[in-house]
Amino acid sequence: MAAFSPSQVTLNARPPAEGAGTPLIQTDSVNLHYGTTQALKNISVTLGERHVTAFIGPSGCGKSTFLRCFNRMNDLIDSVRITGSIKIGGQDIYSPDVDVIELRKRIGMVFQRSNPFPKSIYDNITYGLKLHGMTAKSDLDAAVEQSLRSAALWDEVKDRLNTSAMGLSGGQQQRLCIARAIAIKPEILLMDEPASALDPIATAKIEELIIELKREFTIVIVTHNMQQAARISDHTAFFYLGELIEFGPTAKLFTNPSKKQTEDYVTGRFG
C-alpha cells in the first residue's frame, strides 16, 4: 500500500503547460513479449499530467498492449514478459513492492466493449467503492450521483438507479463504465477504444466527456479514429509494428509529422 501513496503523486491545479506538461507517466525502453513474439519494442515516452494522450496506429501495432502496461492488466496473461521501466509519479510500477490492487485503484480503465456488471446501475458504481472500504449509505449515494454527473449520465438514469445496467443503450452503458471507473477517484484514466462500438451521436457525447474529464484526470486513449485523436488529444503517439514511431503535440503530428510513416498513416495512405 505504501508503495504508491498519494503524496508521491503531486496533483496541482496548474493548467497543462506547453510541451509535455508535468511528466506523470515515464516509460524507458519497454519491451514486451507474448511468448516468443515481441509486441512492444523499446518504447520510451513521457506523458503529461492532465493531458489527453492519444495512441494511434494500425491494428496489432501494440497500442492497446502498451496501454495495458500502465495498470498491469497484461499480468493476467501468463506468457507475457516485460522489460524496461514504467514510472508513474516517479514510482516504478513493476517494482516488486508495488501492490497491483492499489495501482489499479489509482489508474482507472474503460474498455472497448462496454462491460457493465449485470447488476443495477447503482451497484455498478458502488462495486469499486465497496471494494475499497466505503460502506455508509449516504457516502455511497453521494458518490453515485457525483460520478454519474461527471459522466453526463445522471439526468438520464437518476429515476432508475436500481434497474439493471443491461437495459441501458450502448452509449449509456459506456458512460456508466466511465462513471464506474471515475467513482473510485483514480488519477489516470486509460481508455481502450472507448467509442469504437458506438454510433456517431454516442461517440460525440463520449468525446465531450473526455474533454470535460481532462480537467481532473490524466487520460490516455487508444483510438482507431484519427479525427477523434485530433479532436480530443493534446499529444498523440503513433505506433507501428510494436514501435513508437512518433510522439508529439497532436497538432504537429497531424499537420507536420516528422516521419514519413506517420505522414502516410495520418493522411490515410495505409492502415
Binding site: 485503484k105 443495477s120 473510485i184
Partner: protein
C-alpha cells in the same frame, strides 16, 4: 435479329422443380423425432395405464410394514422419503465440490498444462464409468476404508456399514462430472470483459470470482444440479451396497442409518415377489411414483433457476 435476343434475357430465378433432397431430409429428421416421442409416449402410457389403478393417496402415504407385496396393504412413503433424502444429501455434497473444482479448472489452472489436461480427462472418464462400479467403489472406499477407519477400536461397526451418508457420497462422486462440466461451461460463457472490469477496479481475483463470476454463473450451476438430481434420482446400482435397505421398520434417523429407496424397491418387487402376477400393479404404481418424484425434484430445481434468472434480469 434472332428470336433469342428479342426477349430480355431471363435471370436464373426459375424454379428447378421439386427439391427431393430437401423434402426427404425434412421427412427423415421429422420421423426420427416422432419415433423418439412415440417411444417415450409408449413407456409413459404403459406405466400410467397399469399403475394408475393402484396409485392412490393410501399407496403414497402408506408404509411397507404389513406386506409389501399385497396390493391392498403396500405403501411407498418410506421409499419416497428415503429417495428424496439421499438425493438432497447428495446435492449438498456434489454442488459445492463440483463448483469449486470447475472454478479451479477455469479460473486458476493453466489450461494447457499437463496436470489440467489430466484432471479434465479424469473428469470425463468419471462420467463414463458404469454406475455399478461406483457402487463397488462406495463399498470399498467409503464403507470399508473411511468408515472402517472411523470405527477403529470399536467392537460394533457404527460407520463401517451401509448408510444413507455413504450412499449419498457415492452418488455425489458419480454425478460430479455433470456439475463440473455444466459449471465450467457457464464460467467460460462469461465474457472476459466482466472479469477485466472487476480487476481494473482494483478487485482481487478472489473478489472477482465471488462477486462477479459466480453470481453470473449461478443459472449454469443450477443446471448442473438439475442434471445431477435427474441422474441420481433413479439410480439403483450405486446405492445397492452402500445404503439401500430391503426393508426397514423406521425411517432413517441419522446419517449412519440405512434407508428404503424407490428405485431399489422396484427391483425388489420385480425379483423377490412370491407371486409376480399379483405384485405387478404395485410394481407399476411404484415406477409411476418414482417417475413423478424425479420429475418433481427436477421441477423444484427448474423453478429455482427460473427465479434466479428473473432476478438477474431485473438487476437484483
Amino acid at each position: 435479329m434472332n428470336s433469342a435476343s428479342s426477349k430480355p434475357a431471363r435471370l436464373g430465378f426459375r424454379s428447378r422443380g421439386f427439391d427431393f433432397a430437401s423434402f426427404a431430409f425434412t421427412g427423415i429428421t421429422g420421423l426420427a423425432t416422432l419415433f423418439i416421442l412415440l417411444i417415450l409416449g409408449i413407456i409413459l402410457a404403459n406405466i400410467a395405464w397399469h399403475g394408475w389403478g393402484t396409485f392412490s393417496w393410501r399407496f403414497l402415504t402408506g408404509s411397507a410394514d404389513q406386506d409389501m407385496f399385497d396390493v391392498n396393504k403396500a405403501g411407498v412413503l418410506p421409499m419416497l422419503i428415503g429417495t428424496t433424502l439421499r438425493v438432497m444429501l447428495m446435492t449438498l455434497f456434489v454442488v459445492p465440490i463440483g463448483v469449486i473444482t470447475a472454478v479451479y479448472l477455469t479460473e486458476y489452472a493453466n489450461s494447457t498444462a499437463l496436470t489440467t489436461r489430466i484432471i479434465r480427462g479424469a473428469v470425463n472418464n468419471l462420467a463414463g464409468v458404469p454406475s455399478i462400479v461406483f457402487g463397488l467403489f462406495g463399498l470399498g472406499f467409503f464403507i470399508s476404508f473411511i468408515g472402517g477407519a472411523m470405527d477403529a477400536g470399536a467392537t460394533e461397526p457404527h460407520w463401517g456399514k451401509p448408510a444413507i451418508l455413504w450412499a449419498s457420497l457415492t452418488l455425489a462422486v458419480m454425478t460430479l462430472p455433470l456439475v463440473i462440466v455444466a459449471t465450467e461451461e457457464s464460467l467460460r460463457a462469461i465474457t472476459p470483459g466482466l472479469r477485466e472490469a472487476s480487476l481494473a477496479l482494483g478487485a482481487t481475483k478472489l473478489e472477482t470470482i465471488l462477486k462477479i463470476v459466480l453470481p453470473e454463473a449461478l443459472p449454469g450451476i443450477l443446471t448442473g444440479g438439475i442434471l445431477a438430481v435427474g441422474r441420481a434420482g433413479g439410480e439403483v446400482a450405486p446405492i445397492l451396497f452402500t445404503g439401500a435397505a430391503y426393508y426397514m421398520r423406521d425411517l432413517p434417523k441419522g446419517p449412519t442409518d440405512q434407508f428404503m429407496d424407490l428405485g431399489y424397491h422396484v427391483f425388489i418387487l420385480s425379483t423377490q415377489s412370491p407371486d409376480i402376477e399379483k405384485t405387478r400393479p404395485i410394481l407399476f404404481a411404484t415406477v409411476l411414483a418414482l417417475l413423478l418424484l424425479t420429475l418433481s425434484l427436477n421441477l423444484v430445481a427448474v423453478i429455482v433457476r427460473a427465479r434466479v434468472r428473473k432476478k438477474m434480469r431485473a438487476g437484483h
